[in-house]
Amino acid sequence: MRWMSDTGPLLHLHQAGLLDLLQEKPGVSTTPTVVEEWRRKTGEAALPEWVRTETPEPRTLRKARGWMRQGLLDHGEAESLAHALATGTGGFLTDDTAAREFAQANGLVVRGSLGVLLMAAARRRLADGPARAAWYRLAHHSTLWISPALRRETTEALERILAKNAAGK
């Protein structure tokens, strides 16, 4: 499945040093406004080359502007989500609550930064130690909002996944 990302997961995973978790075939795409937001917020010159930047069609941009005018979504989220829907992208990556609701209502599979990390552990792309370190960095070194209750639930879920992985060796 192809994935389109707005700024949130690209930013939060970068802050935690985990952007490489997105490097899966057939890859992750995004749109020019998201790239600009990511550059502004990270101070980095460019996203890794394996994150494809796709330019939306004019009618897609008009749809995105309509959502923005209605106050439904911000610029990067509106542009990337409109492009995902226009191009038949199956999955959308976002940490924004409104964008996630909007994407799910339009039939997309949606994951956030936390889901990217946990899915990597579940697929054994992260071994025990690196998975724990990755979770620590996402929780403590990124600006992703994770409530105390969700921190506990995530730790418990990760422990279960890692125990299963260890038992299956």
Binding site: G115, M119, A121, S142, N165
Partner: protein, 66 residues
């Protein structure tokens, strides 16, 4: 009026500085606007619900839940 003080993690403090430069608003104004929007739209509960969906998906992927 209630006064609160808090320690910001470095990445959040840097984001706040960048937002100040971008908008011309000071940190207090931005913090009030962010808090008002987040609380007003009940985003805490929604963010929790979304992250629980991610946890459940990973547990299914690992074969730990159906």
């Amino acid at each position: 009026m209630t006064v609160i003080s808090l320690e910001l993690p470095d990445p959040l403090a840097e984001s706040l500085k960048a937002a100040e430069a971008e908008t011309g608003s000071d940190a207090r104004e931005l913090a009030l606007a962010a808090l008002r929007e987040f609380l007003g739209e009940h985003r805490f509960a929604l963010a929790d619900a979304h992250q629980r969906e991610d946890i459940a998906a990973a547990l299914r992927e690992a074969g730990l839940e159906s």
